[in-house]
């Protein structure tokens, strides 16, 4: 094995180890994708994009584990205070898509139910720990669920650090 080849192997081992450590520490999105990577959207589905993307960003399925998506889909008649029901065929298509591309459940709790809000996951909180609560509350952002307020290319599923602009609150 050449020295160069060997160093590549060592480097890839190092990267794998680093990713594993980060994952264990809960710093990665549940899917294991690198948090600041350019793509958080490994797959797409027309029904998911149109139905889940009307009132809010069509949140990438990797951001919640399968049990969470099943619970979300079971409660669409009272979806965070609104009626988001879809017909049974569309619901089945969307649920299959979400569950197929769901993230891993890294902190299952035997007592509490599945997390329904992405903003309550450890991954989300870690990624946004430098954002002041007042920024989330500002009228320009209007809450942590409004990804597009800061993530400029959210409609293309891009959440890269280079594609963020936090709006300044008007005095």
């Amino acid at each position: 094995m050449s020295a160069r080849r060997q160093s590549t192997v060592q480097m890839s081992r190092f990267v794998r180890a680093a990713v594993t450590c980060a994952a264990v520490a809960g710093f990665l999105p549940p899917s294991g994708a690198i948090a600041s990577g350019p793509k958080l959207l490994p797959a797409t589905d027309a029904d998911w994009k149109s139905e889940c993307g009307s009132c809010h960003v069509a949140y990438p399925p990797g951001l919640l584990p399968a049990a969470s998506w099943r619970a979300v889909m079971a409660g669409l008649d009272r979806h965070f205070g609104t009626d988001a029901t879809v017909d049974a065929t569309t619901a089945a298509t969307i649920e299959t898509f979400l569950v197929t591309h769901a993230g891993r459940d890294r902190s299952p709790s035997p007592t509490a139910g599945p997390i329904l809000r992405i903003t309550e996951t450890r991954w989300f909180r870690h990624e946004h720990d430098e954002v002041a609560p007042a920024t989330f509350r500002s009228p320009e952002v209007n809450g942590a669920a409004n990804c597009g307020a800061c993530h400029l290319n959210v409609d293309s599923g891009r959440f890269s650090e280079r594609e963020i602009r936090v709006p300044r609150s008007k005095p």
Binding site: C55, F80, T82, D83, N142, N146, G148, A149
Partner: protein, 142 residues
Amino acid sequence: MYDRPIARAFALSALLIAPAALAVTPADIARGYAEEAKQSIPPFSGFSAARGKAFFESKHGSEWSCASCHTANPVDPGRHARTGKTIAPLAPAGDAERFTSLGKAEKWFRRNCNDVLDRACTAQEKGDILAYLMQLSNGGQR
């Protein structure tokens, strides 16, 4: 237009059965609601844009009105009251795709009437809202 009962029944069933396959206009959808309203309210006397506007802007005793998300001038883009996401204009004059699918119109009436009124809207109410939205023009409210 529908002077024979059979033609009327056909037009209505075509609207109800094959919404996805059928290219419809806002006026087609309004006619469907008129047919429905005639069945349920015998002295049906047509739709009113003024009544639709009042209904659209009323909170009906709850937290939101239709205008909370779609604005009081629905030719303009709206903003979701909770998430802040931009919503395309609701009036056909602001977005030509609005009310060109009966399935989509029915889905959103079902959801949003439930959000605002905590019940389904009647054919009369839906027709009034549509009458209001259809008479809006790009230059603002007439």
